[in-house]
Every structure is written in structure tokens, then in C-alpha cells.
């Protein structure tokens, strides 16, 4: 197990190094540099201003030189400064990361809380009206465009009923209740879309698990319907769901651009989008690397979860391969 973890850690380092170079190259290849963008927004800038600013921001230096300079300081824990926000990159990312974790974590929890029981219920009544209704709801949830769902919820709960705020972070003076009210609509938007996906995955896996021999044996031995579902079938059926949930772990930190934009929720998705469009290279690079790292971690968690759920999977053997 430890050899497997060491191997995965080394792989992660190699992937991150490659990603940092790839992302840096892709950002540098984007049309226009930060100074071009400044000039486009400020007609007072002269040729002398442009030249001075290119030197000041280092965009007149060759791409590889810039990358090596960044990598050198990053290895010492200094990830540079945000050009747009004029703050250290980690200082820019930290509050947005917290906002995103709060939003996406709550949405994931709610999605699982809705999706898993629905999946089990539908599988237990395969082919029935319940199954068909759940299926339809799941497809509708997964297929509904997020921005549209966000608008619908906003119009209903904020405009028509006036129960909840239409978006934004809670003001500093609002307490826990204020925070919950502000989170309700964006969390619901994300969760309703995700819940359908989890329910569909679990239903399919449960239907398969319920047809297996060990489940039939359990039934023959007189196990209750609930015990068969939750103890004998669910454990096997959770493997694909755990994989999907763990792979979505990276998404917890890279944010949800559309939902964040619709609800004016300053999170990582919006930050990454804005930093790429605004040529804020350091922020974009570090945020994308962070998302990569978390996706790798999610993949590792998926493997561990699968091994825990299915005794036939051995991480120790995987480490020896």
C-alpha cells in the first residue's frame, strides 16, 4: 500500500511539472499580452508607456525564461503576484477557494443526499412507475442548463416569493442564517443537476447488483428487503458512484463558472476564467495546477474507495505492477 502511494505521489509530481509547463505555454500563446489589454482599455497610453510596462511586467522576456523564473521561485514556495489584483497569488486564491469549497462541498453533500436514496428507490422498483418518474427527473436534472435552472430558482424564490436572496456573498454582519440563505439557491442549482447523475449511476449499479448470486442467496436465506438493498447490494453498487464522486473531487476546488457567475459568488471557477481572459498568468497557472493536484488526489481517493468497497481490488498488487 505504501509503495503504491509513493508511486502515485511521484506520478503526481511529474504530472504537475508537465502541466505547469503546458499551461504556461498555452497561456503565453493566447492572443495579446497583458499590456495589450491595458492599452485597449486606456487610449491615453503612449508607445513609451507600452514599452515601459512590458519591461515592468516581464512580458518582453522569452517564454521559457519567464517559465523558469516562475518555477524557480515557486519551488521556494513563492508563487508570485497577481497582476490584476496586485496581491500575492495565494492571497487572491485563498478566499475564493474557501467560497468554492463551501459552495461545491454543500452541493455535493446535498446531491448525494438526494441522488443516492432516489437511485436505490428506483432500482428497488425497477420498471415501475416510480422508476420511470425517477429516471425522468434524473434526466431532466442532468439535462437542464445550469444558467436556466439558476434563473428559474432565482425568479421563483427571490423575485416572486421573496424568501431568499438572489445571490452574492452574505454581508459581514449576517450570521449563520444569513449565510445559509445566500447559499441556498446556488447550492440547490448545483445539487439538482448533480443529484440526477448520482441517482442514475447508483440505479444502474444497483439493478446489476440485485441480479447477482450473492443477493439471491441472501434473499433465499430470508434477509429482509431493506437489508438486501442496503447491505448486500449497495456495497457493490457504490463502487461506480464512489469513483464518480471521487473524480468530481477536483471540481470542488476548480469551481462552477456558470453558477458562480449567475449568483455573483466569487469562487475559483470565476477566478480561473477571469485570470485567463485578463492575462493574469500567475493566478491562472497556480489555480489550474491546484485543480490538477486535487483531481489527481480525487483519482487516488477513487482507487482507495474502490479497494475498500471491493476486496478483490488490491492496492498492494497494483503497486507491484
Amino acid at each position: 500500500m505504501s509503495a503504491y502511494l509513493v508511486r502515485r505521489a511521484l506520478q503526481a509530481v511529474a504530472v504537475l511539472a508537465a502541466m505547469s509547463l503546458l499551461v504556461h505555454v498555452l497561456l503565453a500563446l493566447m492572443p495579446g499580452d497583458p499590456v495589450d489589454l491595458m492599452a485597449a482599455g486606456d487610449p491615453r497610453m503612449t508607445a513609451a508607456d507600452l514599452q515601459r510596462l512590458r519591461e515592468l511586467h516581464g512580458v518582453d522576456r522569452p517564454m521559457l525564461e519567464r517559465y523558469l523564473a516562475w518555477a524557480g521561485t515557486a519551488l521556494q514556495g513563492d508563487f508570485g503576484w497577481s497582476r490584476a489584483f496586485r496581491r500575492p497569488v495565494l492571497e487572491v486564491i485563498a478566499p475564493r477557494l474557501w467560497n468554492t469549497v463551501l459552495l461545491m462541498g454543500s452541493a455535493l453533500a446535498l446531491a448525494l443526499a438526494i441522488g443516492l436514496p432516489l437511485g436505490i428507490w428506483a432500482a428497488a422498483r425497477e420498471g415501475s412507475m416510480v422508476d420511470r418518474v425517477v429516471n425522468l427527473a434524473c434526466f431532466a436534472g442532468a439535462a437542464t442548463p445550469t444558467f436556466w435552472l439558476a434563473l428559474l430558482l432565482m425568479m421563483l424564490f427571490a423575485v416572486q416569493l421573496g424568501w431568499l436572496p438572489a445571490g452574492g456573498l452574505p454581508p459581514a454582519r449576517s450570521g449563520l442564517a444569513g449565510s445559509l440563505r445566500h447559499m441556498a439557491l446556488p447550492v440547490a442549482t448545483l445539487a439538482l443537476a448533480e443529484a440526477g447523475i448520482y441517482a442514475r449511476h447508483l440505479r444502474a449499479a444497483m439493478v446489476e447488483a440485485l441480479a447477482e448470486d450473492h443477493v439471491r442467496t441472501a434473499r433465499a436465506k430470508g434477509a429482509s428487503r431493506l437489508r438486501v438493498l442496503l447491505v448486500h447490494a449497495l456495497r457493490n453498487a457504490m463502487i461506480p458512484v464512489a469513483t464518480v464522486a471521487a473524480l468530481g473531487f477536483g471540481g470542488l476546488f476548480s469551481g462552477a463558472l456558470v453558477t458562480e457567475t449567475m449568483f455573483a459568488w466569487p469562487g475559483m471557477g470565476k477566478l480561473i476564467y477571469d485570470s485567463i481572459l485578463g492575462s493574469d498568468f500567475n493566478v491562472a497557472l497556480v489555480a489550474l495546477l491546484f485543480a490538477t493536484l486535487l483531481t489527481l488526489l480525487g483519482s487516488l481517493l477513487a482507487d482507495i474507495a474502490c479497494a475498500a468497497l471491493d476486496p478483490r481490488i488490491s492496492l498492494a498488487e497494483a503497486g507491484r505492477e
Binding site: 482599455g41 491615453r44 508607456d49 496581491r87 452574492g168 457567475t261
Partner: protein, 558 residues
């Protein structure tokens, strides 16, 4: 079970409680929540230029001078606007024989930073020192570079010695005072790191950074800012005891926030586009006051004069005669955006009402194209004797619904006179950051300029402002327009102090522009201010200075 029920009731009550608070706030109407579509990435008054920052800072501080809603230049920080006539500005002979100007300023009495420290001449001198330092990060340094010397007479009186006497000598909108007592140590520690360490971004709520009617009390990056009255402000007392400015980028969400009462007002400077505002007016016009203010944003189609098809003036004139801009403005914008006949807004005192107007005249357009040698082919598209088709590409910023709608109308109208137009739009970043700056658009590009009242056209029309590798792609003369007479007029205009003579130069420039048509004028964009019926005192300016510059005059109607 009872305990569970009690818990649920308590939870609902705690969530509902803030609603009662909001209702109370609305009834008292001493708080205001404003929504706009952009969050300012910096709050430093001199680093980077963005509309959101200008809007917020206008409530916190003042530039030395500004253009008011009647487009009159006024002094904000000084006691009297310096002019040659009142003797506060005087022409001086420089050692090289050229004319400079000495501008005397007296800072208004009683002005103090929000920590109580008086605003002094040292703050103005420090601002200029920062503005001209090559490593300070100030993007446009032209104004500060031109200040050769700063003479401090006492705490409130100062003279700026500027190396050039231009007609805009007393437009000091680029001079933003900085609190020397707070910022000088940061700057002196390392001028090269100043842009990253400035307190305006490191500690934006620190008392003493601003001197306007309000001070910053809370900043949540990317989300909102909270402003409270500055007790040291010597001007009119502001009515609202708390202003929250929320950044909501998505305009549908912005509307929903307004309708739900989460925000009270959508700022016109950074709010709904005109078509969205018109649609909103139809649906909810009874609940809100909607003010439309045409301004200095000039929508037009640049023509790349390097394109052989567009080098012929007759083709350019035909393109303009073929489009019905009056109908376009009426049908798409309900006539709220006045048709442009030159780049000078009719509200500007130098606009020439007699400038040549190219009305909608398809017959004339056809005649001009015939004259230029383009005859209609079998498919209706014109071509010249060599078989060169009159086929042009029109680009604009992808995702801008108004522009895309206008594009469709133009394409259709040009097709009727035998001009084929292919649409190729790009994201704004690519369009402005690459295509326009490098003059890489093959034929036509639709976008807007923003200028200032009586703002000189050097950057857009002088041949020295044609972007090229030689000038590091500076300048915005994207059509590549080069006219010796116009260059001379722009040079002469800038140093002409007599208004009547200057107006004649402006008229000649507008005449050349209307004749040569390096760009096709479309319309002047209007901002839509969506106000609750109880809010009064907001006066849209239509110029580069936002309405928030007079925030102390905003009131709640009884």
C-alpha cells in the same frame, strides 16, 4: 418529534428574520444598494483604468478637475479652476523656446483624509512623483511626465510647471491626490514593488486613503464593497448612511436582484445594455424610473484603408449611404441612441451642426459603386472589371447582442446594393488585444471609442497614431488613415487657446472626417439608469466622469 418540530420552526424563523430587517431598511431608505456588472480589480486611483474603479472611487475621492453633467469643466479639489483669463494659468517660455504653462492650484480648505490628516500640497506633489516614476506601475504617464516641476508654496498652494501649453491645459482629471503620509513610506521602500504593496489594495479599508463623502468600510473581493459616510467630508452631507455596491456580472441575475430588492438601483455606467434596458422597461417600467443618457461612446465601423476595395472613397461613401441608421436606431433602440454624423457628440460644444450628413440613399450608393467600377454579377454581388468581388469581412466583439443585431441589419442592407459582407466575430480579448491593435482586420470592424468633452482626436485620427511595430502598436488609428491636412489641423488644434479659432479647426476636422470616412459613424451609445421611484438626485453625465461623483446629492424621496 416535538423537539424536532421546534427545531424546524426555530430554523425557519432565523432564516426569515433577516427579511424583516430588509423590509425595515427599505422603509427607512437611508441605505442604498447599487448593482453593477464589474468588480474593480484595484482601488488605486492611478494604476490601471477601469470603469468600475472610477465609479466606486468617485464616491470616495475626487480628481483635481472633472466634467460635470452639463459638460462644463469644474475644479473638484481646488478652489478655482485655473485659466489664462483669471491668471491662475500663465504661458511660460521654456529654455528650448517652446511654450509651457504654469498652473497655480489652491486646495479647498477643510479637505481632509478620512483619518483626519489635512489634504495638502505634498499629497499632490507625491501623486505626480508616483505618476512619473517608470517602475510605479501607473499605466498612462503622459500627464505626469509633462509636469516638469512642482512648486510648493504652502500647505494648500502649489504650482505645476507643464512642458506644453495645450488647449486642455486646465483639464487635470488625471491628477489624483495620494495620501503622502501613508503611501510615501510604501513607495520609498521600493518604487518597483509599489504597485503590489500599495495600501489601496493591501489595506483598502484603512482610514486615510480617501477624502470624499464616503469611506470604505468593507471590501469582499469579487463580491461587494460597503461605504459609510466620511465624517471629515467638508461638503454637503450625504443622505445614505450606508451604500453597498454589488458586482453581479450576469445581467439577467442583475435584473433578478433588482426585482427581488437585493439591490435598489442598477448603475447606468456599468449596468444593462440598452436593448436589455428597453425590454426591462416594457416588463417592469411601472415600478422603476429609467433614465437614458446618450454619451461619448461612439459606435462606428472602422474601415481598413489598406484594403484595396476600401481605398476608393466612393466605395466608403456608398457603404454609408446604403445603411438606414435612423431606422436602425429606431427599430433596435427605440431611437434612444442618436445617429452619429461624425465622431464628435452633438452635445459637445465643438460639434459642428453643419457637418456633411450621409443620409440613407440606396440609389446614391448604387450610383457611387457603379462609378467606382463595380457592377452587379449574376448572384447580385458586384465585382469590378478584373473580377474582384465587392466582398468584405465585418468583425466585432462576439457575445455583444446589440452589436450582433446591428451587424445583421447592416449585412442585409449592404447586400441590397450588391455588397457581400461576411461576419467574423471574435471574443473581446482577441478582437481588441490582437486583431485591432495589430490592424489585422481585413476590411471592417465595429466597436466604440470613448472620449472626453472636446477630447482631441490625435490618438484616433493622426497618422502618427497608426499602430505599427515601429511605435510598439500604440495609437488607435486602426483604419490607417493618413491625411496631411488633418494631421496639421490636429497639431494646430492642440495649441490653439482661443475657443472660436479652435472651433473652426474642429469644424474642418469634422468636415474631412465626413468626406473621407475612415470609419462609418453609426450612433452614440446611451446608458440606461434603472432607479427605484424613491431615489432622487442621480444625474447621469454622459461623459467619462460617473454620476457617482455627486453621490452627496443623492436622496430618498419622502
Amino acid at each position: 418529534m416535538r423537539r424536532l418540530y421546534a427545531l424546524v420552526v426555530a430554523a425557519i424563523a432565523s432564516i426569515a428574520a433577516p427579511l424583516a430587517g430588509e423590509a425595515g431598511r427599505a422603509a427607512a431608505r437611508d441605505e442604498l444598494s447599487i448593482g453593477f456588472t464589474q468588480y474593480p480589480s484595484t482601488l488605486h486611483p492611478m494604476i490601471d483604468s477601469m470603469a468600475a474603479k472610477s465609479y466606486v472611487l468617485a464616491m470616495l475621492r475626487r480628481p483635481m478637475t472633472s466634467w460635470d453633467a452639463s459638460w462644463t469643466l469644474r475644479c473638484e479639489v481646488c478652489v478655482e479652476l485655473p485659466t489664462i483669463a483669471n491668471g491662475l494659468a500663465r504661458a511660460v517660455e521654456r529654455p528650448d523656446g517652446t511654450r509651457g504653462v504654469a498652473i497655480s492650484l489652491e486646495i479647498r480648505p477643510g479637505l481632509a483624509w478620512s483619518d483626519g490628516v489635512p489634504v495638502t500640497s505634498a499629497d499632490a506633489a507625491f501623486a505626480i512623483e508616483v505618476g512619473r516614476h517608470p517602475a510605479s506601475g501607473v499605466a498612462a504617464q503622459e500627464f505626469h511626465r509633462r509636469v516638469e516641476r512642482v512648486e510648493i508654496h504652502d500647505d494648500r498652494r502649489i504650482t505645476l510647471h507643464v512642458d506644453r501649453l495645450s488647449y486642455q491645459y486646465n483639464d487635470l482629471g488625471d491628477l489624483h491626490l495620494l495620501p503622502a503620509h501613508l503611501e510615501r513610506p510604501v513607495f520609498q521602500a521600493d518604487p518597483g514593488a509599489y504597485r503590489q504593496r500599495t495600501l489601496f489594495d493591501a489595506e483598502p479599508t484603512r482610514p486615510g486613503l480617501h477624502f470624499g463623502p464616503y469611506r470604505l468600510a468593507e471590501v469582499v473581493a469579487g463580491s461587494h464593497l460597503v461605504l459609510l459616510p466620511n465624517p471629515g467630508w467638508p461638503g454637503d452631507r450625504p443622505h445614505f448612511r450606508r451604500i453597498t455596491i454589488r458586482a453581479i456580472e450576469n445581467t439577467a441575475a442583475l435584473e433578478a436582484n433588482l426585482l427581488s430588492g437585493a439591490i435598489d438601483y442598477i448603475a447606468g455606467e456599468l449596468g444593462l445594455s440598452l436593448d436589455q434596458a428597453l425590454a426591462f422597461q416594457k416588463r417592469h417600467g411601472a415600478r422603476f424610473d429609467i433614465a437614458f443618457k446618450p454619451g461619448l461612446v461612439y459606435e462606428h465601423v472602422d474601415l481598413n484603408l489598406d484594403n484595396p476595395l476600401l481605398r476608393d472613397r466612393r466605395v466608403r461613401q456608398a457603404l454609408l449611404a446604403a445603411i438606414d441608421r435612423e431606422a436602425l436606431s429606431r427599430q433596435l433602440f427605440e431611437g434612444r441612441q442618436p445617429v452619429a454624423h461624425s465622431f464628435v457628440n452633438p452635445l459637445d460644444r465643438v460639434a459642428d451642426p453643419g457637418v456633411q450628413r450621409h443620409g440613407f440613399d440606396p440609389a446614391r450608393a448604387q450610383a457611387l459603386l457603379d462609378e467606382a467600377g463595380f457592377r452587379a454579377g449574376a448572384d447580385g454581388i458586384r465585382a469590378d472589371a478584373t473580377g474582384r468581388r465587392l466582398s468584405l469581412e465585418l468583425g466585432t466583439t462576439a457575445g455583444n447582442r446589440s452589436r450582433e443585431a446591428v451587424q445583421q441589419v447592416l449585412q442585409n442592407q449592404w447586400r441590397r446594393v450588391g455588397v457581400e459582407v461576411r461576419i467574423r466575430n471574435e471574443p473581446p480579448r482577441v478582437f481588441f488585444g490582437e486583431t485591432m491593435r495589430r490592424r489585422a482586420f481585413p476590411a471592417m470592424a465595429m466597436y466604440a471609442w470613448i472620449s472626453s468633452p472636446e477630447g482631441g482626436p490625435r490618438n484616433q485620427l493622426h497618422s502618427a497614431a497608426i499602430p505599427s511595430a515601429a511605435n510598439a502598436f500604440a495609437g488607435q488609428n486602426y483604419p490607417g488613415f493618413a491625411d496631411a491636412e488633418l494631421d496639421g489641423l490636429v497639431d494646430a488644434l492642440e495649441v490653439e487657446l482661443d475657443f472660436e479659432r479652435r472651433k473652426a479647426l474642429w469644424a474642418r476636422i469634422q468636415a474631412i472626417y465626413a468626406r473621407e470616412l475612415p470609419a462609418l459613424p453609426l450612433y452614440f451609445r446611451a446608458d440606461a439608469f434603472i432607479l427605484p421611484k424613491w431615489l432622487a438626485g442621480i444625474e447621469p453625465t454622459g461623459n467619462q466622469h460617473p454620476s457617482s461623483l455627486r453621490v452627496e446629492h443623492w436622496r430618498a424621496r419622502p
